[in-house]
């Protein structure tokens, strides 16, 4: 299956069938074959000890720093009136250049049905930026809700380990339904309905312009994720993630998988926000020795950090491998 069709299937919530034997390259089949019966528990323990990269690896640190810096730049810029990054995440001006969040711009265009030049320029700029940087990279490297949801996720997992809560999954197609629903609502009602709910916009504005009652909604979402369903908003609802996901389909920045040393033990799938994109790490799940992770991946790097065999890496297509 091609990268693009795989990415769209992931994004829209469809199941990506495991590649049949005939779809797998001979080289890969030979690797799978050679691993049969050799991947013992003690082997895995050994690589785990050697790897020593539990939670909080270098990519997590870099990412949190970046996310906090981006959001703080808005705050500092307004607070000290240095006019570096004016506005909020929904739309802003970076040293004078217009930027507009793609999903917010889409909602405005659908509701208002007019697009002025500045909004057009801002939308194109941001589109190009995230094509370059990997689409859903926005989610894990810039979205303020992502950071809170990540913390809520730790709490959820901690509670789940103690059997105090359990994860209730939803059908992933429901995100596609939501996406269409918000498009139709904006078109029909003439209001940017999604913005009323968007924790991304609410948090960004609360940081810059001061807190308000809207934060209660964000708290409710976080509580839902802690006590009922892991990462529910980002996994099953948020259209922003979907919009950037689609942009990421043509992005050259990806996480890439190498099947050679992989133990198929699934450490990566346990930490991932969108584990379906890592199905290729299941034994027999890939079709090439080197294969890219689909565009629903937020490029958060948790799997890159956690993989004990270094089988997952960042890659910028066309450039030599990063790090």
């Amino acid at each position: 299956m091609g990268y693009i069709s795989k990415s769209f299937k992931h994004l829209f919530g469809y199941r990506v069938a495991r590649p049949g034997k005939e779809e797998q390259s001979e080289e890969l089949r030979a690797i799978y074959e050679a691993k049969k019966g050799t991947l013992s528990k003690s082997d895995l323990e050994k690589v785990h000890i050697e790897h020593k990269q539990p939670y909080g690896g270098k990519w997590l640190k870099r990412r949190w720093l970046t996310l906090i810096a981006v959001n703080l730049l808005f705050v500092v810029s307004f607070y000290f009136d240095i006019q570096l990054l004016e506005g909020a995440l929904t739309a802003s001006r970076f040293v004078g250049f217009h930027m507009a969040d793609l999903n917010s711009a889409l909602q405005v265009i659908l509701a208002y049905k007019v697009m002025v030049l500045n909004l057009f320029i801002g939308t194109v700029t941001v589109f190009l930026l995230w094509v370059l940087l990997g689409g859903r990279t926005f989610c894990s490297w810039a979205c303020p809700y992502h950071l809170l949801a990540e913390w809520a996720e730790y709490l959820h997992l901690w509670l789940a380990k103690r059997k105090i809560v359990s994860d209730h999954s939803f059908n992933r197609k429901v995100r596609t339904v939501f996406y269409l629903l918000f498009v139709v609502l904006a078109l029909v009602t003439g209001y940017t309905v999604f913005e009323t709910l968007s924790p991304t916009g609410i948090l960004s504005r609360a940081l810059i312009y001061g807190p308000g009652l809207a934060l209660l909604w964000v708290l409710a979402l976080l509580a839902f994720e802690v006590f009922y369903s892991r990462r529910a908003w980002c996994r099953y609802v948020c259209p922003i993630g979907m919009t950037y996901g689609v942009v990421g389909v043509i992005s050259p920045l990806r996480v890439t998988y190498n099947a050679e040393a992989c133990h198929h033990e699934g450490d990566c799938r346990k930490v991932c926000l969108v584990p379906h994109v890592l199905d290729l790490t299941i034994r027999g799940g890939a079709s090439q020795v080197h294969e890219d992770v689909g565009a629903d991946c937020t490029r958060c790097g948790l799997c890159v950090d956690v993989c004990p065999t270094d089988s997952l890496k960042y890659e910028f297509k066309g450039l030599s491998k990063l790090v």
Binding site: E86, A91, F170, T196, L197, L216
Partner: protein, 296 residues
């Protein structure tokens, strides 16, 4: 899908739900989730239909006086207008405004727009045209219309003067007083008055101030300076008068004056902000403008 890995082996723990049962439950849950989120988002209609989201908006807010729908639709809720305003007149609405969340408004009694930015900075900053760029000068704005809603509290109508800080010592609002500092607005509390009869609403009306400035400039202007004249015409200089005090008939010898709103009023709210009584005599009617005095 991660949760449907085909290599899941049925384990003989407790009573494991059959795969079909699991899918069915997940499907039902998803339906409930969809209904829940949809319901929550449509709650945003309530304040809009109720009219509680109707507020005084920054200059250039595209709206017909009764319908803010287009303004809500076109605003991307970024607050760039908030950031450029020198008097911090603009705030962003909270979730209690439903679909109006993140949309800018002005609470005139707390801090009105006094146009001290001169060039309508908020309009220039707006990336989506929610604050329409068709607007060039303060006198062209139509935010609402001032109304004498409480004549009983008006000091001028009782023939009273005014001495001291217009809104008391604790009032945080600022205004530009050109004679003090043309570039930096100062707290209203730092500029006390001593008036024989209260005329703050007229004296501090930014439109009236512009008319006076134009008149002063015209006096010492060289008549041959055509460029200047052209600019003035463009600037609609002088604008039409917005408010004046007219003498009231009196049989007890006390001089009383009544504020009268004229067809130059733009609804900026400065008169509402500076009006000294606890309950201001003048308030902004946001459903009317001078072009639609009947409100439609």
């Amino acid at each position: 899908m991660s949760d449907q890995n085909s290599d899941q082996k049925p384990k003989a723990k407790k009573t494991p739900p059959k795969p079909g049962e699991k899918t069915r439950r997940e499907f039902l849950r998803s339906g409930v989730l969809a209904a829940g989120v949809l319901g929550a988002s449509l709650l945003g209609y309530y304040p809009v239909l109720q009219g509680s989201a109707l507020r005084l908006r920054p200059p250039g807010a595209i709206k017909t006086p009764l319908d803010e729908q287009e303004f809500f639709a076109s605003c991307i809720k970024c607050g760039q207008c908030v950031q450029v305003c020198p008097v911090y007149a603009i705030k962003l609405a909270d979730i209690t405004d439903g679909f109006g969340i993140g949309v800018p408004y002005i609470d005139a009694r707390e801090q009105a727009c006094d146009f001290s930015c001169d060039g309508l900075q908020c309009v220039l900053a707006c990336p989506t045209g929610a604050l329409t760029h068709d607007l060039n000068f303060p006198a062209d704005t139509r935010m609402g219309l001032a109304e004498l809603t409480r004549p009983d509290t008006c000091l001028a109508m009782q023939g009273q003067g005014f001495k001291g800080q217009a809104r008391g010592a604790d009032f945080k609002g600022v205004l530009r007083f050109s004679e003090v500092d043309r570039w930096n607005p100062i707290p209203l509390a730092d500029h006390p008055f001593d008036l024989e009869i209260c005329d703050l609403c007229v004296r501090l009306c930014p439109i009236e101030i512009r008319i006076a400035e134009c008149a002063a400039e015209a006096e010492n202007d060289e008549p041959q300076n055509t460029a200047r004249v052209a600019q003035k015409i463009g600037n609609e200089c002088p604008p039409r008068s917005a408010i004046k005090l007219v003498p009231m008939p009196s049989d007890d010898g006390v001089k009383r004056m009544q504020p009268v709103i004229l067809d130059g009023c733009v609804g900026c709210g400065v008169c509402e902000m500076v009006c000294p009584p606890q309950i201001p005599s003048l308030t902004m009617n946001i459903k009317k403008t001078v072009d639609h005095p009947g409100g439609a």
